[in-house]
């Protein structure tokens, strides 16, 4: 450090201490940080993105002959059926990474610095969730763009989906809604955990099955108990909503929950998760 550190820096001390931080500024700053971190950890970005793409190609090819939707003749190919499911999987993976970053923030020490600052605890939660959601939407859209071009390579069956303005906007909206809810859900677990290993357990026994049983992987028309699980899974309504806005043929989604129910359940789920997140963040953690 240079010899004289005094002068004007210190003379003003105390004058600016009364600044009240704006919530929007804090949320934006914390959100931006999530994006920058994501870009700087490329392996994470690539892994989270490529795995679902591979799943889509492989399952799409594997089930291409045997899959048929109940009640529809010559309906969508499995690749087409699975497309919104994979978009949901990407959202799920991104939210898992967002949750893991909560644990990282705590372990790396970044979190303590944020907690002693005067920003509202709500801003801390919203910054984290908005960052995760934004990444989820961007990756989801990137995947859909990639999927559109992949089908011309012959690797997957023909897929068709609604590319009208409302269709695309609806897709973005549902990706965001699912992302927000799932990031909020991940935060609930991550806040209490000190190790990423611990979170892996949550991921395998809770989050991944949640995706599997959301109508993303196979239609929700199985046997009795399975049907019930799918019906009480909040993600089911996110996936169903996404299917509805993406469907090129309305008949193929007729059996799904109505749009109103999809929106209501997804919004409610996100609100409940955020409320729990904020409540936990406000409480001191010993």
């Amino acid at each position: 450090m240079p010899p004289c550190l005094c002068a004007s820096v210190v003379k003003r001390a105390g004058l600016m201490s009364q600044h009240t931080p704006k919530m929007s500024l804090a949320v934006w700053s914390l959100t931006k940080r999530e994006l920058v971190r994501f870009v700087r950890q490329r392996s994470r970005a690539i892994g989270a993105f490529l795995q679902p793409v591979i799943f889509w190609v492989l399952f799409g090819a594997g089930f291409s002959g045997s899959f048929s939707m109940q009640g529809t003749e010559g309906g969508p190919s499995y690749a087409e059926f699975f497309l919104p499911g994979i978009a949901a999987m990407i959202v799920m993976f991104t939210s898992i990474f967002s949750a893991i970053s909560v644990i990282q923030d705590r372990n790396e020490g970044f979190l303590q610095g944020v907690l002693v600052s005067p920003v509202s605890r709500t801003s801390i939660v919203l910054g984290k969730l908005c960052g995760g959601t934004l990444l989820a939407v961007l990756q989801g859209l990137l995947f859909l763009g990639l999927a559109a071009s992949l089908q011309f390579t012959g690797l997957v069956d023909h897929v068709e989906w609604n590319l009208s303005v409302t269709g695309v906007l609806g897709t973005v909206a549902f990706l965001a809604l699912m992302g927000f809810g799932l990031c909020g859900l991940g935060y609930i677990f991550a806040w209490r955990l000190d190790s990423i290993q611990g979170f892996h357990a949550i991921m395998s026994v809770l989050l991944f099955p949640m995706w599997l049983l959301s109508g993303a992987f196979f239609p929700a028309d199985g046997s009795g108990w399975l049907r019930w699980i799918i019906a009480i899974n909040p993600l089911t309504y996110g996936v169903a909503g996404l299917r509805r806005v993406m469907a090129s043929d309305v008949a193929s989604v007729a059996q799904l929950p109505s749009m109103g129910v999809c929106i209501a359940v997804s919004v409610l789920f996100a609100i409940v998760c955020v409320a729990i997140d904020v409540r936990m963040t406000k409480k001191h953690r010993i």
Binding site: V10, A13, L15, W28, V116
Partner: protein, 315 residues
């Protein structure tokens, strides 16, 4: 006298069954550098976390800059700058980015934020590091960024938890010079925790924290003077020769047994050294003689060595 910048009254804290703080009371005046000295596990970090609003007050009351941590934590947070013992930088962001989001958290933006960051980076000798990713910096440089970060919003009170961790002696010296300049020129109040005696010597006043209790407080000189005279430590030639008892009986003075050694405080201690060695020529292995240090104060107040407490439970 004006209200103290930092006031702690009867603060107790327990983690489950373990009592981490017991009825701690002290005040720090505006512009003072107050040091909390104690071994690791003595309760320093718990107290630090209460004052920095990351642990709740279970019992007692703590106010900083006139704001109660329990009832108006946000007002406290705006008034304090905090440097943690462990890092709090985002390792993936650059130095400049770390300062920018820190500024945003405190409501600083635009030119004001830019000027403040530039100024602090320059004064902490970090100007050429602005674009470096935090995790690539050496420990000492990271520490400086931490300090720059905590000063960014011009806090009235600075809380530093073991600030010298990872600093080489030169950087440590600079840090302390900077702290006293801040105090002198801007009336910033500084509370620092440390387990280093030489660092404690630089504080205006000290509180000695042992097993969750504040066992003494005062200026370093006052504390040393409280020990009285000189300190003599005798190592017996055999561990079980009851030397302490025999010294007590022979010279009619107080002798403490610490870790097998015998410790005596005495005015004109050099005379006692001579008498001791003459009286027990075969029982004394070695004698250490010196003016009391802060460690002696600690031993006198707690009856055990400073480093003995370095166990997780502080027992």
């Amino acid at each position: 006298m004006s209200d103290p910048a930092l006031n702690v009254e009867g603060v107790s804290f327990r983690y489950g069954d373990r009592q981490a703080l017991r009825d701690v009371t002290f005040a720090v005046q505006t512009g003072e550098i107050f040091g909390l000295l104690g071994p690791n596990g003595g309760g320093k970090t718990t107290l630090f976390r209460i004052l920095s609003t990351t642990l709740p007050v279970q019992e007692g009351k703590a106010t900083l800059a006139g704001h109660d941590v329990a009832t108006s934590p946000d007002a406290v947070r705006s008034a304090i700058g905090v440097t943690f013992q462990s890092p709090s930088l985002d390792p993936k962001l650059t130095v400049g980015e770390n300062l920018t989001y820190q500024g945003h958290l405190y409501g600083l933006t635009g030119t004001v934020l830019k000027q403040r960051s530039d100024e602090l980076l320059r004064r902490l000798g970090l100007s050429d590091r602005r674009g470096d990713i935090a995790e690539t910096l050496s420990g000492g440089l990271k520490r400086r960024v931490e300090i720059a970060k905590s000063l960014l919003h011009e806090p009235r009170i600075l809380l530093l938890d073991e600030p010298s961790t990872g600093l080489d002696p030169g950087a440590r010296h600079d840090l302390w010079r900077y702290l006293s300049e801040l105090r002198k020129e801007a009336g910033v109040t500084v509370m620092v925790t440390t387990h280093l005696m030489e660092e404690a010597e630089r504080c205006d006043r000290l509180g000695l924290l042992s097993q969750g209790e504040l066992v003494a407080q005062g200026t370093p000189d006052e504390l040393r003077a409280s020990v009285g005279g000189d300190c003599i430590t005798v190592q017996p030639s055999q561990p079980e020769n009851n030397l302490a008892t025999r010294i007590r009986e022979r010279f009619n003075i107080e002798a403490q047994e610490i870790d097998g050694a015998v410790r005596v405080e005495r005015e004109q201690g050099h005379e006692l050294v001579r008498d001791l060695v003459a009286a027990f020529p075969d029982d004394v292995k070695s004698v250490a003689f010196g003016k009391p240090t802060l460690e002696d104060v600690f031993i006198q107040r707690t009856g055990h060595r400073f480093w003995d407490e370095e166990t997780p439970d502080g027992v």
